[in-house]
């Protein structure tokens, strides 16, 4: 990825009259962190980067922005939002479009074909971070870590994030501008995390999830970071009726996570953000990936590929599987 081209394009798009701001990635405040950047001019655009650290899915900001009632006489700011997306992020945009969560003319999609991101926890474990912001680059067979002036080459398999191992769509599926040539797709790995749980007996599965959800602190990071969780009034926060009590214990935590996983069935685009942001390191992604796998196998459907497609839970086929029905 040519960073100069990226920054020039970003500056140009952000400077357009019909664009409110552009959302991209910039270096964080220390170590390997990356922060989302909201760019409105060329000066801010000069800070944008695209590196193996840019795991954050920026599509969540399309729906996170609050729309307040305006004072009389003030017109709403209808300008577009420009968004930089990787393959997985673009699927979130496509799914939002299919669900009519956003309109096509509200967003300018800038596609960044993605060779794969590093797992930030693995990275920090093997190559401890310092307070100086570090840089990462892609190389032909892996990654190059640049810390304090020194370069360390690392093979791809050592640090590649799990979600990238399983990735089927590294190239953006929807875009207005493409910043680079498409990358070569790779054979997605077998999802061992999900298979491992599938192979357990029912009691073993429950024991596993009980342990995991006992650690949940109900911070709602998973829900808030998810680009497809954008209900203004989340049903799981409601009090009358109370679907999930606000008290934090493993039955309520389990109910919360199961309900959320169900609401995302057929919509989750497997960007892995929920797992990345969880402060209790709960492997939430497994629930969503299992659903995605079942839906792929049984219904032949994959969300986030057709901006004009039909949402999964709001449609049906006359010959849907019904082997479970008495």
């Amino acid at each position: 990825m040519d960073l100069d081209k990226l920054r020039e394009t970003a500056a140009e798009v952000a400077g357009r009259d019909d664009v409110k701001y552009l959302i991209g990635w910039k270096k964080g405040s220390y170590g390997y962190r990356i922060a989302p950047a909201f760019v409105e001019d060329a000066e801010a655009a000069a800070e944008l980067i695209f590196s193996p650290l840019c795991t954050a899915n920026l599509a969540t900001y399309l729906t996170l922005v609050e729309k307040l009632p305006l004072p009389r006489g003030q017109e709403p700011d209808d300008r577009k939002v420009a968004l930089m997306v990787k393959g997985c992020d673009s699927r979130a945009v496509a799914q939002l479009l299919a669900e009519k969560g956003i309109h096509r003319d509200e967003v300018v999609v800038i596609g960044c074909p993605c060779p794969g991101m590093v797992d930030p926890d693995l990275l920090a474990e093997k190559y401890p971070e310092t307070e100086e912001p570090a840089e990462l680059k892609w190389s032909d067979d892996g990654f190059v870590i640049v810390r304090d002036g020194e370069e360390t080459a690392v093979p791809r398999d050592e640090l590649l994030a799990e979600k990238c191992r399983l990735c089927r769509y590294p190239n953006p599926v929807v875009n207005d501008i493409m910043l680079d040539d498409p990358v070569e797709t790779w054979e997605p790995a077998e999802d061992e995390g999900v298979t491992e749980i599938e192979e357990k007996e029912v009691d073993g599965r429950w024991a596993y999830w009980q342990e995991q959800f006992s650690n949940c602190i109900r911070c709602y990071s998973c829900r808030n970071v998810c680009p497809l969780c954008y209900c203004q009034d989340c049903i799981l926060d409601r009090l009358n009726p109370t679907w999930v009590n606000r008290s934090v214990n493993f039955p309520e935590n389990t109910a919360f996570n199961i309900a959320r996983a169900f609401h995302l069935a057929g919509r989750c685009i497997e960007c892995g953000e929920c797992e990345r942001v969880c402060p209790a390191n709960i492997p939430l992604g497994k629930l969503n990936r299992k659903m995605a796998r079942e839906i792929r196998d049984k219904y032949g459907f994959e969300p986030g590929l057709e901006p004009e497609g039909e949402p999964f839970q709001a449609s049906y086929k006359p010959d849907d599987p019904e082997d479970f029905i008495l």
């Binding site: 599965r205 596993y208 999830w209 493993f250 996983a261 449609s315 049906y316 029905i325």
Partner: protein, 143 residues
Amino acid sequence: MSANFEPNIVAFLCNWCSYAGADLAGTSRVQYPSNVQIIRVMCTGRVNPLYVVNALQQGADGVLVSGCHPGDCHYMEGNYFARRRLGMLKDLLEFAGVDPRRFHMSWVSASEGHKWKEVVEKTVEDTREAGPFEGFRRRQIDW
């Protein structure tokens, strides 16, 4: 578990087919287990899968959802949506560690009083085997 365990089953029945079918079983004096608490909904398409989760949270040991046969839905397509959604819910619950014997779905038409009896018997037996539901049943846990 003890042989005396009587499971609590909550059933969501669609008004036009399954509820009528259950009613027919009653008027025909068909004998079937009394463990089922029936909640009448107008159509299975109206059954929010979270009702199933909520029933389990609130003390049900098993849940049954029953509706019209495909093609016979009073509202044309409700049961098709239900088939999709509840099929996925069953997979999700199973993956999360809830015994698959606790959740059943069936097509029972208004004239199938005897099928209703069989469906209930199967549901009750399966749930009895699975035992009392602990899982994510609501508990007032003290820290």
